[in-house]
Every structure is written in structure tokens, then in C-alpha cells.
Amino acid sequence: MEAAPPLLEIDGLSIDAMLADGPVRLVDGVTLGLRAGEVLGLVGESGCGKSLLSYSILRLLAPGLRISGGDIRLEGRSLATLPERKIRAMRGNEISMIFQEPMTALNPVFTIGDQVAEVFRTHQRLSRPQARAKAVEALAAVGVPSPEIRVGQYPADLSGGMRQRVMIAMALACRPKILIADEPTTALDTTIQAQILELMRGLQRNFGTSIVFISHDLGVVAEVADHVAVLYCGRVVEEAPVAELFRNPRHPYTRGLMGAVPQPDAEDMPDVLHEIKGNVPRPGHLPGGCRFHPRCPVARDICRISDPPRVAVGAQHHVACWEAADAS
């Protein structure tokens, strides 16, 4: 049922950290696709490589990290081999990004207006006043009240939610094809989070922006995403359209995550939460075989020895688990 080719393809991407005592693999053979106008949700616990994945798309990996395998393609063009100049022209223009921490992601010593206008000045080569006017428009578009005043303010004068709106305005300034949102609501209050999620949904609806939406909260991802990929220790363990995933989670980890979170609006509360035992292993100290096996309630011998293959278990539903592999 694969219709049009995806807008953005991540193909077997691996990322290594170059440590003193050798490279450590942090992201391992991730394959994902983002179709035009779609919201792709990425969930996973802290440290599973979500951010690295998103940075690698824009080639913003920190020094000491490098892409050690695989490819990233935008409309068929490989981004991994693009010269620095070209990729720079693409950043903030065709692909933009929002980060988790609205408090620190804005430069404290420049005004909001300056920082938003910078995007126009860089990519559209507008003059200073033109860029400023556009900045006001962009802020208004994301629901910042009285944007003419805000442009003259510094980030410190704004609340977290407001700053995140500024970040979004900045990211959307050039109407990018793809917006990568790396945990855009994690640092925000629940009521503000709901507002921002609403805004993101509006973007997708109104502009058809394709979004990669990253979160560690399955609930949040489920609210905005069309398609969800679950990451564990640098690997995609399950991937499916959102409804399918919730109806029919196939990976024990996915099932565990769903059961582990008490739902405040659930009809009744269990006495004991379903827990995933053990801890997330540290990169470089991963268990052999299936990475999840030490914590897996249904682990078998093969899980300890051998990596499960990625298998399709339904329309656009893929799982990497021996149980599912055997079943199909």
C-alpha cells in the first residue's frame, strides 16, 4: 500500500559516539519514512537516541558523534553527502527544527524580533525592516499576542509557552517542507502543552507541513501523530499508524509502556501498575540478542542470542520481535 515515495527517508541510519576507548553505537540501523503532510511520532525513553536521530537529519550532530552508516534522503536527495553550504541553505528553510527546552533554545542576549528576522535575512535575503515586518507576521501566525511589542523583548521577558511559540514561528518562517519537533512540549505545563499541541495540529491541517514529532510520552504522540515509531536503545522496535498501534501493540515493550502509565481519566485505576522490570541499559553496555530481552516478560532463548528481524505484521505495521516474527 506504499503510495507516493516518502518525503523524507531514513534508511538504516547508525550513529556512533567516538569515545576514548572506541566508538559506541547510539543509533543502530533506524529506517523510517515521512510522507508529505503526515505527522510521524517518535517515542522512546530518555537516551534511546531520539534527539540524535533528529539532529542527524540536519547534520547538527555534536562533535564526537558521527553517522556511521545508512542514509537520509529528502525527496530522493541524499542529505548525508550534501556539501556543508547546501545543507546550511536547507536548514530553517526546507527543514526546520524546534527543541525541547524553550528556556535555553533562544539566545538570551538578542531580542525575539532579531532572532526571528534573522531567518528571513539569511534565507530570503530581506532587508532589516522587511525582515522585521515579516517577523511580526510570523509571530502573529503562531498566536503570540501583540507581536509588535514582543519583537522588541528579550527571551527572559517571555513565559515558556510563549518562547516555544517563538521557536515555532522561527521554524515555520520559511514555510519548510518538514518540521522536526524534538519534545516541544516536555518542558511545558500540561495546560500550555495542550495549547501547543493544538497549534501543531493546526499547522499540519492548514499548511500541510510534514512533522516529525518526538516525545517520550506515548499519550502526547498519540494525540498528534498519524504514524508512530517506538524506539528502544537506538532501534525502532515497532512502527504503525497510530490507531493500529494502540489497538494492536505487538512488541512487549510497546505493550509495557502502555500499561505502565496510569491514565488519570481512566474509568478505574488498577491496584498495581503494569511495570517493565529492570532498567534501560546504557549505550555501550547493551545486552546481546534482542536488546529488550532482559526486561522482556516473554523472552525466549532465541531472544538472548539473536537480533529479531523487522517484520510486517499489518498494513504499515512493522515489529522487531521474535514473537511477532514467528507468528507471521
Partner: protein
Amino acid sequence: MSHEQLDAADAGPAYRRRSGPARAWSALHALLLQSPSAFIGALILVLIVFACFIVPALLGQDGEATDLLNTFVPPVWQEGGSWATPLGTDHLGRDTLSRILIGGRISLTVAFCAVAMALSIGLVLGTLSGFYGGWIDSVIMRVGDLFLAYPFMLLTISVIALLGPSLTNLIIILALADWVTYARTVRGSVIAVRGKEYVRAAEAIGTPNRTIIRRHILPNTIAPILVLATVRAANYIIWESGLSFLGMGVPPPTPTWGIMLAEGRNYILNAWWLVTLPGLAIMFTILSVNLLGDGLRDAMDPRLKRVGK
């Protein structure tokens, strides 16, 4: 045994608790890995300390013996040099080598004692200031401002003029002029540590203040202070030489590197070794101390760690 405990147990040798010298050695080893330049610095420093503190004792020299019949003997590799005085002699016929070694002992002692003294004052006042805040803090910090604003050179010169030049006075002055730097740093890190959750936790438990300072605050402020101390120690060696230049350092005949430079400067053209050699000694020492300090700083600064933790 549950799996998570297995994890911790398997975490690898680096995590295993060690004791005593093994631990010190592994710290050194870690330093070497973390920052080779710091290691080199430490190595040179150890060599210098050994040379200055052990060697002259072995040779039984004090660097003060004059020999007017053999003045301006060049180093041994130059024409007219002699093995009796491998690095030559000065205008009073004193042996340059033993003077450099003894001088190093004095210079290093001055630096070390001044650091120790300034650090103790700074540690006590900075801790009080940072921990108790309020008027104690205000008083200490205002006094500190005063010391900062009082031109250091003038302070030094006034005190020396007052007390006369001597090794002890020199140390006192350096400490007096510089305690503020330590106090401010200590205060800063005490305030930072004091704001840490684990200090709150100790308070919540009902741990008395004294215990909190001793057990929680001091151990966690000492690291940045040590880094500061290394760098300042290097400065003191330079300052000492500056004071000697103005005739306000350690009184002769005791040699210090500063005095040797100051005395030797008049012979730059006809006896180059008199100023060049102690100059090199200063340079190497300061270089190594700074390398060590920088390395320690980098090694202790989690932000600069190569491994994102």
C-alpha cells in the same frame, strides 16, 4: 538477584570501588587519559620539586657561598667552563646550578605557603560567607571588595616598607593580597553546593550545620579551589620575581629565581646564563603548573567532558 543489580555489578571495572593508593593511582591514570597535558605538567612539576628539594641536600650546597676568585665562569659547555660549576657562576662567584635549585626551593615554598595561607583564609571566610549569608556575607564581601580595590602593588609595597622584606612577610603579603580571590570562588561554589538538593536533603534529615559544612559542602567545593590554587601558585612565582626586582622580595643572600633574574639582568650581555637559566626555570615551572591546572579544570568540568553523560 534482580536484573538491575546485575547491571550495576556488571558496570565494568571503572566503577569498582577502590581504596588508598590504588585509588590515587587510578585517579592519576584517569588524569592521563582525560588530559595528557595535565599529566605532563604534573610530571615536570614532580621532577622540579625533586630537583629543588632533594638534590641540593644531597650535594650539601646552600647557593650562598661566594668565590670572588671565580666570578663569571661560563657554563661547562662554553669555553672556560668548569665541571665544578656546571652552569657557571655569577658576579660573586656563586654556583648558578645550586642557586637555581635552592632558589627554586624558596620560590616554590613561597608559592606553596602563600597558596596554603590564602586558601585557608579564603576557605574559611568564603564558606562562612556563602553558607550563612546575611550580614556575615555582607561584611566579608565588603572587606573583600576593599582588598580588591586596594591596588595590590601598593599594598605589597606598603607592607614591605612597614615590615621589611623577609620570606615570611612576602608570604603574608601574597596571601593577604589574594585571599579574596579564593574567598569569592569558595563562596560561589558554597552557594552553588548549598543550593543543591543533597544539602536540602541533609537539612531535612536534621543534620546539624557543622556536619553539613564538613560532610557535604567542603568536599564538594574543594575541587575548583584546587584548580584555582595551581594557577595562582604560578602567579606568585612571577609576583615574587617582580617584588625582588623592586628590592622588596626575599632578602639576600637567600637566592630565589626572582632575585637571580633581578640581579642577573645587568649582566645580560656579558653573562647570559645568569638571567637565561633561572628564566627558563621559572618558565618551565609555570608552564607545568598551568598545564596541570588547566588539565584539572578540563578534567573536572563535566561540560567539557568528551563523553556526554
